[in-house]
């Protein structure tokens, strides 16, 4: 008979030590103990256990007989253990998630819409009632002097015709993602004011939408300059010469006038440039009436006080004389003459804060002040301090370190170089022509230098910068022409070069710092029909000189002095520039060269710099080259330093020392 029992698996340690499983016999074992298959504890063989921890097991173990008899032991049955599992968990908690509604705070800004903004279109510039009277040109002996071709009538200002609008080009640039935004300057603090700028459309859109006329589409960097100037109350546009500062300033003025931000603008420039500015206004803002302040004092007083003209042009030379006109007060103590914007061209003119011009400029009542210059620093950081006394008095102080100066002015100054923005401008090629003086020149030169240095030495403590300067000038003039024989190695070289230039049908400008030298060159080159442009040419004739040089193919050369020809003239049809002698300051030389090398240049501009070897010219050039290199470094770091020859440097040309300085040391 087979017996099966249900047996719980146990650990080895739990097992009764006397039991022997699986039929193994213990030495003390008795017969295997089994349950009969019909026992209630036995399971059918075919059934499997519902719990895998139980399995059929055949037992064989020894039973010790109880004293009460082993049959009784069988009747007691096997011990059964029970376990209890709790099925119910902890009580449920209900959580409610409320997405809620976000509390949204809103800031609102309302702007003066375009249609509310005052505009030049259809509105008299001064806001007064239209007079209906035609205002005539400057030469009109009766009417008020408007210099442009436009007229102001009761129906507003009529633009000149015949100039193309380049809206499509501007919009194409905009579509290509090359728009320029007018960003608020750092000194605009209120968020509302800043948003007023940020939310305006890009400049390209404004220009295109208003159908503003331009002779040609402005370059992108020029629009960047306009966007820079437009929002600023104090700004320096310090682009390198030839990048179009004039156009950028005029366009910014034009936009400000048309949107009613300004109504009275004064432009101040050197006297020789007045006609140039007038012409540029006609070109770039043909609808804006322009008046030049000039003539007799009584007339000028009236011009200063006239409020119906949006743009007036005055020259620096005039300001000290007219100061009483524009500083006069009315009965309420307010200035009778005031401007919304004053723009200084060639603003290095006011670098000397103590100068009469600087003081006169600063006395003009104004809301906005802009300065235009290609050389914001000609000599030292003081130049910049002087310009800022006009822009924002007290903003800079002379004792500021260059680095701090650079960071302080960063938001006020925009300077780009041709290399940065005009990648397609024809190259500017320099040729340093080292000239050996003729024997006659050498003889005169050596004698003059020997005598001059001897005389300076004899002066001892009496020596001044003026004494040294006189000797330098004397020697430089000998390098040009021998005053005894008229010999000139430079002239020989110039003649050879000009022959080649004339054969190719090109034109050239020749610069010198002396009118006498220019006239001598002109006398020797009659075949090229030379024209003159220097300080002795009356300003009224200068424009005609430029016109003839540009239009008449017979005039092949223009003889210019650095002083008269270094600023504000456009001579980009010229391919050759000669520096017959060198100026003291490389910045002035650069300005002169850039008359030809600027936007619109027809081809490469070749600059020939004459240099008499082993002379004072070479010594000066060495110092200037060092300064030029320094200038480049300075501008990239916005840390201007002194550029022109210092007093010490001029003395050092002859191994001399300033009395009481080096010698004492």
């Amino acid at each position: 008979m087979l017996f099966r029992i249900l047996w719980r698996r146990r650990k080895e340690s739990e097992r009764p030590h006397t039991a022997v499983a699986n039929g193994e016999k213990s030495p003390n074992s008795m017969a295997p103990f089994t349950l009969p298959t019909d026992s209630p504890l036995a399971m059918p063989a075919a059934e499997s256990s519902p719990l895998d921890t139980y399995q059929p097991f055949t037992l064989s173990f020894r039973i010790d007989p109880y004293v009460t008899g082993w049959n009784r032991g069988l009747e007691r049955g096997l011990p059964v253990e029970t376990q209890t599992w709790e099925l119910a968990g902890p009580a449920f908690r209900v959580l409610s998630l409320n997405p809620g509604v976000n509390k949204i705070e809103i800031k609102s800004f309302f702007f003066l819409s375009h249609d509310d903004a005052p505009s030049l279109e259809g509105v008299p510039p001064n806001g007064s009632e239209p007079s209906g009277q035609r205002v005539t040109g400057a030469d009109d002996p009766v009417g008020a002097p408007f210099s442009g071709k436009q007229c102001v009538t009761g129906h507003g200002i009529r633009p000149q015709c015949g100039v193309k609008c380049h809206a499509a080009v501007l919009l194409e640039r905009l579509a290509a993602g090359a728009g320029h935004r007018i960003c608020p300057p750092e000194d605009v603090i209120k968020l509302e004011d800043r948003l007023q700028y940020l939310l305006q459309p890009p400049l390209e859109f404004i220009l295109a939408e208003r159908q503003l006329e331009f002779p040609h589409p402005p370059f992108p960097y020029q629009l960047e300059g306009v966007a820079f100037l437009f929002p600023r109350h104090a700004a320096i546009l310090a682009d390198e010469m030839g990048l179009g500062k004039t156009m950028q300033a005029i366009t910014a003025i034009r936009l400000l006038l048309r949107c009613g931000e300004v109504r009275r603008v004064l432009l101040i420039c050197p006297k020789p440039l007045v006609s140039n500015w007038r012409r540029e206004f006609e070109l770039w803002a043909p609808e804006i009436p322009v008046m030049v302040i000039e003539g007799e004092p009584q007339r000028r007083r009236w011009q200063w006080e006239l409020t119906t003209v949006p743009v007036k042009i005055a020259n620096y030379e005039l300001l000290p004389r007219d100061q009483e006109f524009f500083t006069a007060k009315d009965e309420t103590g307010e200035p009778r003459v005031s401007f919304d914007l004053v723009v200084l061209d060639e603003s290095q003119r006011i670098k000397n804060r103590a100068g009469a011009t600087s003081q006169a400029v600063r006395a003009i009542s104004r809301k906005r002040s802009w300065a235009l210059t290609g050389t914001p620093v000609e000599n030292s950081t003081d130049d910049l301090v002087g310009i800022f006394e006009f822009l924002s008095p007290g903003f800079l102080t002379p004792d500021m370190k260059p680095h701090r100066l650079g960071t302080t002015i960063a938001d006020f100054v925009l300077r780009r170089t041709k290399d940065e923005v005009l990648t397609d401008l024809p190259p500017k090629l320099f040729r340093d022509a080292e000239i050996e003086l003729t024997p006659e020149q050498w003889k005169t030169y050596e004698m003059a230098e020997k005598e001059g240095v001897l005389r300076l030495s004899e002066l001892g403590a009496e020596i001044t910068i003026q004494h040294v300067f006189e000797l330098v000038i004397r020697l430089k003039q000998i390098c040009n022409f021998d005053p005894v024989t008229g010999a000139s190695a430079k002239m020989e070289r110039l003649e050879a070069d000009l022959e080649e230039i004339a054969d190719s049908g090109r034109k050239a400008i020749i610069f010198s710092q002396w009118v006498g030298t220019l006239e001598e060159i002109g006398r020797r080159l009659p075949q090229y029909r030379p024209l003159y442009f220097h300080g002795r040419i009356p300003p009224r004739q200068r424009e005609e000189v430029i016109r003839r040089f540009r239009e008449d193919p017979q005039h092949r050369i223009l003889l210019m002095s650095y002083g008269a020809g270094s600023v504000g003239l456009n001579l980009q049809f010229v391919n050759y520039v000669f520096l017959f002698d060198r100026w003291w300051n490389p910045a002035v030389e650069d300005q002169a060269i850039n008359r030809a090398h600027r936007i619109g240049a027809a081809g490469p501009v070749i600059v020939t710099r004459f240099l008499a070897v082993d002379t004072i010219e070479q010594r000066i050039n060495t110092i200037l080259e060092q300064k030029r290199a320094l200038f480049e470094t300075i501008f990239s770091a916005t840390t201007p330093k002194k550029l022109a020859l210092t007093q010490e440097e001029i003395f050092s040309l002859f191994n001399l020392h300033i009395p009481g300085t080096a010698e004492a040391a």
Binding site: V101, S113, A175
Partner: protein, 208 residues
Amino acid sequence: MKQQDNVGTRLSLRLGFFTAIPLADGGYVGGYLILNGVGRPIEFHCTTPVRPTRAQEILYGPTLKPYLLGEQMAPALIAKAKSPAEIILVTEWEALTLCQVVEQPVALVLSPETSAAVEPGSAQSAASATWNHSVNGPRSPGAAILECGVLPACQTLQIGRNTLLVPESSVEGITRVQEYLSPWAGAFDLLEPFGRIRAALEEALRRG
């Protein structure tokens, strides 16, 4: 609205532009700009930062941004405006749900890249292209939900150089403006004002 080249009429036109920029911590700031017909700003309204709650993140899941932009921020901004806009343009597809909340016609201005992928006249392909294109936002799980019916049926319209995705309920209103603006179609870019809003929002955040 007369279709005539009259600056005065253009000046009286009001176009609304809504967009929002995300914040580093997960919220958004929204801006609503109203321009006249020559692109000049008339009104600008912006929200302070709006941050979704954790409960909103959980419960709204992928539809959180459509909810915040289209149902919370944009309606609140539009309600502040004094000049009612003829149409309201948005640049995030999530904000297109705005059309179910406001009365004005609403349209999504597609980016040039997305526009190029859109088959003209095919509403479904327009929607798919929009949602699939990274320029208007990478495809998210929310897009799938919208595809299932949250977003109304749309069709494409052209205004100037811009392609618009327009819910059917807004087509009539947008078409009216489309016809009106057609003489100056080449003169404006309807995506450009969104750049102004973003610049203004960033400025507002910088200035606190």
